[in-house]
Amino acid sequence: MTRLAAALLVAGGLAVQQGPATHVLIVSGLSGEPQYATAFHAVATQVFDAARSRWGVSDSSLIYLAEDPAGDPARIRGKATRDELASAFGRLTRRSQPGDLVVVLLLGHGSGQGAESRLSLPGPDPSAADFVEWMKPLAGRTTVLVNAASGSGDFVAAVGGPDRLVITATKSAFERNESVFAEIFAKGLTGEADADKDGRVSMLEAFQYARREVAKHYESKGLLQTEHALLSDSTLARTVALETSAAPSDPRVAGLIAERRSLEAQVDALRRKKATMDSVAYEHELERLLLLLAEKTAAIKAIQEGKP
């Protein structure tokens, strides 16, 4: 991933920098069969817990709607109906400020095509057009809609827009077979996809991880791949990232983390000059910066382990 200055990143939980807040809405639709209900809930739980413990999402900004609210009352806020969904968007609109990050994750089965692509919920199914309407008041926020349902591909064209990132499990409404994207994407988003090991997973990293691992899943089983994930805007996806670990409470650590991020940004700047630099000089400078980085990390660890 191309590194960006820390200020550009929307990351929850930075104790010393009151940055933009993150809001998360998880919707688990009609399952149809118990095995799907279990699978959807497992994914939702994984994302819910990461949002609460690592992304710094406050309880009032974390909404989980599901087919059966009684299944996990500690997490599930309400029934996943079209009306509840509309209300949840309203709440998030009121709770959030321009510049905040709003992440919406849809799980379940899809139907329809184009603007009439739908997510199957108890009662009336919301369409892509409904999501467009609900997301309009979120203008100014960075909005990420991850439709991990089968047959979700048409959401990219129907819902995508400025400051709005759409990720779908499939490339079209016709890929309606059982999908493994949700499980893999959630695993990536909550940590596994951190390819550059910077402690944050960007949406691009999560998407690329999911796309790669979904392909491997089918290849390893000798099956024809029946789902191909889509992303509406890779530039935006690169800039939206979520933390993989909880924010530090010690201001010395937070300071060192900030210094470390500055060094990471320098590495990134150096790397972009690589093609124009003498290779020895490049390697020398790279190693110097990396050693400085390593020293910062060692200092952080020393503080965390109570060493002087």
């Binding site: 000798g222 990134d268 790397r271 790279l286 990396l290």
Partner: protein, 830 residues
């Protein structure tokens, strides 16, 4: 592989062919037809001649069936010039004769006249004339989709006009089959057989369908056809071809002579005689056959194409290329010759030339599925990677090439050196080995079609096989498969590609067994029962088990039996006898001759010795099994013990099962089938908390089963739990040859090796993790850097960790390693 013998799929154009065999034919023409269809051609000719002008067309067709082409031409021309009811049938038969002689302009002239007329007012034609129109279109149908469709349509129209006619159904079947559409062809022949169960041509069609589909019953079906009509030339040729496949050359040559006795102009007959002469090294005989073919055909490319194809089926690919090239020389437009040339050039590694010839063949015969499949595969192979390693070129899908070559290259080098010592022969290098990630692709590469059951094939110095990813873990061992195929490179090369199938396969299995403990086929319960029931093939019929198995297990039996025969020969006559036998085959001797020259015994005597040898060697297991009756599942004490033990286990009484399983394991320790006693005993031990005992039992089992994924997996886990790193390393190394695509397998092996201080293995395995394509590349590369450092390569470790951090500067473990490396480095060091 069936060679298309369109010209010889005979034109038994009796348009009255509608009566089931056995019914009394009433009209004189029908009586002539009935005689012809039962092979009494001379009688048929006599009767037709006696019938005068009314029977000229049947006479012409009967003359054509006997290869009396000029006479047939004259008779048919008389009718074709007239305006009688059979004028169109005569014209169609004349067109077929012209095409058969290679006079395509003449054939086209006749066809054009007939088809133009049919297109004008064919809807008013009677059924007989519609058949004639179909025959005319069919003359042009090779490579011409429109003509083929028009022919089918005309035959359909004939059936619509007279639903009882068999002739258009038979011709529809032939047309489908000539265009590689076996299912539709089969349906047409079945329609005929439903009305006339003993119709010789329909039975022949079914035999061709079966041959096309690789069904071993083709031989029985064609023999049924010949029992009805012993003079059916195409059936005789097919039977000869099937004899050739079984390397029964004498029988094939006899069939060739029978063909020519019926029809001296039949290219198939000349080809059978030419092929047996060629394969037997009789160059004068081959020249004579070639001259015979040329006498009846100005450009007998099909003669060369057929022999080239059959020669390739004898694994003599380079000679096949030469023959096919001769076919292309006599007729550069022959799709058959171009196709056989292209396919076999690909088999000897001449990829560019092979592709070019296949392209030309496909342009002329766009229906040919082998050409199409192979050309599609070549397009796909453009995405493959070729890794040159020592004496080998490893060609594999790009994403798998690094991983596979990491293990395969050293294994093949070891195999090459081992086999050079064993066979005192050094094949030319590089040897090319292609691995296919999809079994269908391997099948197309080998046979042009999907559905091949084999795992690998050796064309000499070009090998092809399934990559491990082509099958589920536990289906096969890709290491032993590669070793097996490379052994063929030696046995084929040493014998000038004249080694018979049974001996080549037998030696390959022997070499597998010598390569690693547990590799290569072992005895199955069914094999022992078949031996006891005298159901194994005799020495002189061993080849048939490979090409024409009489029951589904016979191929596997044949591999194992052949390997045991080779093993016995080595034990009793020494390794050099095997080498001398290969050389003797190279000298052109047949199997009895080779036995006599090298071993000094007859085939019968060798067979007797084998039976005694086997009885001694497997005395224990043989006691536990009853003679197989050829139908039901094996029985005997061993089976009873397994059954009873299974019942006890199901009832939750492992202590009751244990002694039975122990007795069964002692009786037949090599048993690897369902409910293997060693595996069940291991399970009992593990449940009782005896992990070491369980692991040891599994080790015994894994030492006799080359592809046991689950038992190896369980043994590995137990060894890891016991911290028996040496044992774990051994098991995990074995598992790589079963399924190397699991990143965790390599991680575990790296860990085991690290515990043992085996840095070389650890390093290889860390590289393997990367080659598999791990989800977390940075972590894998970090571990590789650590392994490099442990292996005494701090410079490499630094390089690796810098690359890791260049992409993932925040990676804390890598940062720590970089610091560690920096602290180790002397001031001013690299």
């Amino acid at each position: 592989m069936p060679v298309r013998i369109v010209a010889m799929v005979l034109a038994l154009g009796m348009t009255g062919s509608r009566m089931p065999a056995g019914q009394v034919a009433q009209s004189p023409a029908a009586r002539v037809m009935a005689l012809a269809e039962t092979g009494r051609l001379a009688d048929a000719e006599r009767m037709a001649r006696d019938g005068g002008a009314a029977l000229l067309v049947p006479l012409g067709e009967v003359l054509a069936l006997q290869g009396k082409l000029a006479a047939a031409d004259s008779v048919l021309a008389v009718v074709a010039r007239g305006s009688g009811p059979e004028q169109r049938t005569a014209a169609a038969a004349l067109a077929e004769l012209a095409a058969r002689r290679g006079d395509f302009p003449g054939a086209r002239r006749l066809v054009d006249g007939l088809t133009a007329s049919y297109e004008r007012d064919g809807d008013r034609w009677p059924a007989r004339d519609r058949v004639a129109a179909g025959r005319a279109y069919a003359v042009l149908a090779s490579g011409d989709a429109e003509a083929a469709r028009a022919a089918l349509s005309a035959f359909d129209a004939a059936i619509a006009a007279d639903g009882g006619l068999l002739e258009p159904r038979l011709r529809t079947g032939d047309l489908f089959l000539d265009h590689y559409n076996a299912p539709d062809a089969e349906a047409s022949y079945q329609e005929v057989l439903a009305r006339a169960p003993e119709n010789a041509r329909a039975l022949l069609g079914m035999a061709r369908v079966q041959q096309f589909q690789g069904n071993p019953h083709a031989f029985e079906t064609v023999q049924r056809s010949l029992r009805v009509n012993p003079a059916l030339v195409s059936a005789l040729v097919l039977e000869g071809e099937l004899f050739l496949d079984a390397e029964a050359h004498d029988s094939a040559a006899a069939l060739g002579h029978r063909v020519l006795a019926v029809d001296s102009s039949a290219l198939g007959g000349w080809a059978l005689i030419g092929a047996t002469a060629f394969l037997g090294g009789d160059s004068a005989g081959f020249r004579k056959a070639s001259t015979g073919a040329r006498r009846f055909h100005p450009r007998p490319a099909a003669f060369f194409a057929m022999i080239a194809e059959w020669t390739a089926r004898h694994r003599r690919y380079a000679e096949s290329v030469q023959l096919a090239r001769e076919g292309v020389t006599v007729d550069p437009e022959s799709s058959e010759a171009l196709g056989v040339l292209g396919m076999n050039e690909l088999r000897i590694g001449a990829m560019d030339s092979g592709r070019a010839h296949l392209d030309r063949a496909f342009a002329r015969d766009p229906f040919h599925v082998w050409y199409k499949n192979t050309l599609d595969l070549l397009d796909e192979m453009a995405k493959f990677r070729t890794i040159t390693a020592g004496r080998f070129q490893i060609v594999a899908p790009a994403g798998q090439a690094d991983l596979l070559s990491m293990y395969l290259a050293p294994l093949l080098e070891e195999a090459y050196d081992t086999l050079v010592a064993r066979y005192e022969y050094r094949p030319p290098t590089p040897v090319r080995i292609e691995l296919y990630g999809r079994h269908a692709d391997f099948s197309v590469r080998t046979a042009g079609l999907t559905g091949l059951g084999a795992l690998g094939v050796s064309f000499g110095t070009v090998l092809a096989m399934d990559a491990p990813s082509a099958r589920d873990a536990g289906d096969f061992n890709w290491g032993s498969t590669a070793w097996h195929e490379l052994t063929h490179t030696f046995t084929l090369g040493l014998s000038g590609h004249k080694v018979p199938r049974w001996f080549s396969e037998g030696l390959s299995v022997v070499e597998e067994r010598r390569a690693r403990p547990g590799w290569g086929a072992g005895p199955s319960l069914a094999f022992l029962a078949a031996f006891k029931g005298d159901k194994l093939l005799a020495m002189n019929r061993l080849n048939e088990g490979f090409v024409r198995p009489s029951h589904p297990s016979e191929i596997q039996f044949s591999y194992y039996q052949a390997s045991l025969v080779c093993q016995m020969i080595e034990e009793q006559w020494g390794r050099t006898a095997l080498v001398a036998m290969l050389r003797a085959y190279g000298d052109g001797l047949d199997t009895p001759g080779v036995f006599q020259r090298v071993l000094g015994v007859s085939e019968v005597e060798l067979g007797r010795r084998f039976v005694n040898w086997f009885r001694q060697r497997f005395a224990g297991p043989l006691q536990g099994v009853e003679a197989w009756d050829g139908r039901s599942a094996p029985k005997g004490e061993f089976v009873t013990l397994l059954h009873e033990a299974g019942g006890s286990l199901q009832a939750g009484r492992p202590e009751e099962a244990r002694p039975k399983l122990e007795r069964a394991a002692a009786m037949f320790p090599q048993y690897t089938g369902e409910g293997a006693p060693l595996v069940l005993l291991a399970d009992i031990r593990a449940r009782a908390g005896d992990r070491k005992g369980a692991a040891d039992l599994l080790e015994r089992y894994n030492a006799v089963d080359e592809s046991s994924w689950e038992p190896n997996q369980r043994e590995a886990e137990l060894r890891e739990q016991l911290q028996d790193w040496s044992g774990a390393r051994k098991v995990l190394e074995r598992m790589i040859w079963i399924s190397p695509g699991e990143p965790t397998l390599h991680e575990r092996l790296a860990v085991a090796a690290e515990h043992l201080g085996d840095h070389r293995t650890a390093l290889r395995e860390r590289r393997a993790v990367l080659a598999v394509g791990p989800a977390d590349v940075s972590e894998a590369r970090y571990q590789l850097a650590r392994a490099m450092l442990a292996a005494g390569d701090p410079v490499g470790a630094r390089r690796e960790v810098l690359q890791v951090l260049e992409n993932a500067p925040g990676f804390e473990k890598a940062q720590a390693l970089l610091l560690e490396l920096a602290n180790r480095r002397p001031e001013g060091g690299p």
